[in-house]
């Protein structure tokens, strides 16, 4: 080992200079991020330009970049944290200055929807990425451990049985998802868990809750209630505004920070339970904690958009194919690709029917993501020999 020292010195220097975020300056990851930002910006511009009140791309640009909003912290705070908090932060008591008609439409109605789409995409991407590592299955989605069925059941119960509580529907749906996750964990637990036991328990709980949910549809006597239920259970961004941004943003920040912090644990989980254990990981604690973070992210997305399928399944998959399996990069990649997919899908959901049929109706975005997700997996299935195992 005599010659080892000099080599070791070089290696140490190389690693140290890379530092913690060094791994992120990977050309592939950077191009994925840039391409995703381009998609979000393009999709966002389409979203703010078209609709019942049409404007040209130029007008839309001017409205988005309107200095009356961008340079006025009162307006910005008014949007991002709400009017009450804005007034207590700035101490401003008067009337906010008038905005142009276009600016009002763009900033009040169309832009927040783009932001909500981006936030939902982020949450679902990160959540799916974590669940794929925890279950060591690349076909896992954020909803694999019962989250969607629990949320769906609570949505139906609220809409059909406890109509008085529908103001709290977002919260109830998110809680339902989290409770179902705990039930799944409790069922899977027997001196510890394993990926297979967790997935099976997820199937069990999902089957029962989905049956109950479908059964509840029979008790809905109003077509409006049924439509609302379908919107929630397939995922929709119709009618979202700044309130949804404010609702999801803090939880998203927490979930994203925790998942980035947990990326090394996720990498270790990929080496298999035995290796992770022999390297000193408290595997049950880590697995539960990471699942909890993923459920938090999924619940935040459910609270604002309902149960959007396929995004959490495809996004980590695409990212892994593009940047490799290092979870630090996978998580960061999901933060970009998730919003790109979600914003693009929402363009289809909001404007697609208008283009195809000429009618001004919107469809739930979950339908579009499903339509994108199916063919993507068909393509993968044709191209890849082995799928499933991570």
């Amino acid at each position: 080992m005599s010659g080892g020292r000099s080599v070791a010195g070089e290696g140490a220097a190389r690693r140290a200079s890379e530092g913690r975020i060094g791994a992120l300056f990977d050309p592939k990851l950077v191009s994925v991020a840039l391409a995703s930002v381009a998609v979000v910006v393009a999709g966002g511009l389409v979203q703010v330009s078209f609709g019942a009140y049409s404007m040209t791309i130029g007008e839309a640009w001017r409205a988005v970049l309107d200095p009356a909003v961008l340079l006025d912290p009162r307006w910005l705070l008014n949007f991002v944290v709400g009017e009450g908090l804005m007034r207590s932060i700035t101490g401003f008591q008067g009337e906010l200055p008038e905005l142009a008609h276009e600016t009002l439409i763009v900033w009040n109605i169309r832009l927040p929807r783009v932001f909500v789409a981006a936030i939902v995409g982020m949450n679902l991407g990160v959540s799916g990425a974590i669940f794929q590592a925890v279950t060591r299955n690349e076909l896992a989605s954020p909803f694999i451990l019962g989250v969607s069925s629990g949320a769906g059941l609570m949505i139906l119960l609220t809409l059909v049985v406890f109509g008085g509580l529908s103001a709290f529907l977002p919260l109830i749906a998110a809680l339902g998802g989290a409770v179902a996750f705990l039930v799944v964990y409790a069922i899977a637990w027997k001196n510890g868990t394993s990926p297979v036991r967790l997935v099976l328990a997820g199937v069990i709980v999902g089957t029962v809750f989905n049956s109950l949910q479908t059964g509840l549809f029979f008790f809905a006597d109003d077509i409006g209630v049924v439509q609302s239920a379908i919107q929630w259970t397939t995922g929709s961004l119709t009618g979202t505004d700044w309130e949804q941004v404010r609702m999801a943003l803090p939880w998203t920040a927490v979930a994203v920070a925790l998942s980035l912090a947990g990326s090394r644990q996720l990498n270790l989980l990929l080496l298999g339970e035995q290796t992770a254990k022999s390297l000193g990981m408290s595997i049950e604690k880590v697995r539960f904690a990471l699942s909890g973070v993923a459920v938090l992210a999924a619940a935040a997305s459910i609270a604002v958009a309902g149960i959007v399928s396929f995004v959490g399944l495809i996004v980590p998959h695409m990212v892994r194919n593009l940047v490799g399996s290092d979870y630090k990069r996978v998580i960061v990649g999901c933060l970009f690709v998730g919003p790109a997919l979600m914003v693009a899908a929402d363009v289809g959901a909001r404007l697609g029917m208008g283009v195809i049929t000429g009618a001004a109706s919107q469809i739930p975005v979950g339908i579009v993501t499903g339509l994108i997700g199916g063919p993507y997996f068909l393509y993968l299935m044709r191209r890849q020999q082995n799928m499933g195992e991570l």
């Binding site: 070791a8 022999s278 000193g280």
Partner: protein, 301 residues
Amino acid sequence: MSTENADATEIDATDGPDGSNDAGASATARGEPATDASDLDGEDLVLGYPNAPGPVIDGESIAAEPGAVTALVGPNGSGKSTLLKGLATQLAPEDGSVLVDGRDVHAMDTKALARKLGLLSQESTSPNSITVEDLVYHGRYPHRGFFERTTDEDAVAVEEAIELAGCGHLRDREVGSLSGGQKQLAWIAMVLAQDTDVLLLDEPTTFLDLHHQMEVMEIIETLRDESDVTVVVVLHDIEQAARLADRMVALKDGEIRARGAPEEIVTEDLLADVFRVDADVVQTENGPRVTPLRARHAESE
């Protein structure tokens, strides 16, 4: 802020009165005669699997010789891998205890234990696109706090491990693109980077070609001769075991049938009793040479 935290966890994490967890300490210990090598003792171990009717190992004790290589041999299903899993705490004993330097491993913090005791499993899986170097860095997991980044000490340990395992030329290759033998070297480098006082290896040479078998053997010989790591290795090949080990333990049907120096263990009687083969055993300068003649069938016994 993270640096301060990191330092704090490092101090907390260092345990053992002799501070033998310090990478520096064991690095300097390499090449010195085995003085403060670690003990690994299994006492009255009862080991079984949750769904199996009875235990595989029923009340056996085993002590690994400090700083030396102990080989576990035995036929298929003799319980040697189970015993190793029990020693590695992958399998919780139904009764009995495993002690490292006199401390019960189940009472130890998992990371502290992983700095003392390393395990190379028989089947190791990893994502295909991870590079060998990144894989080896995972071996440093128990030495790092939750938010800690890699230190120079980690880098030195990784370089030493890669050199000892002889996989420097594979460093930037993706694990998925390696042959079985090359993969095994990468995994060995990973457990070496873990820098433990006790190393447990579960059939490290099985399924490898001759060249890679010799590579693995040489790594273990280096550990035996130049460090005071206590090694316990499960081997299928009794000749290899005899050549490599300072002490051998032969198992059959979950019982330890014999233990001692290789020349005491590898005898025609033992091969007949434990492995159920008639064989010629010739002592050579490279250790005993075993020529199996025929399998003993139940009626001939």
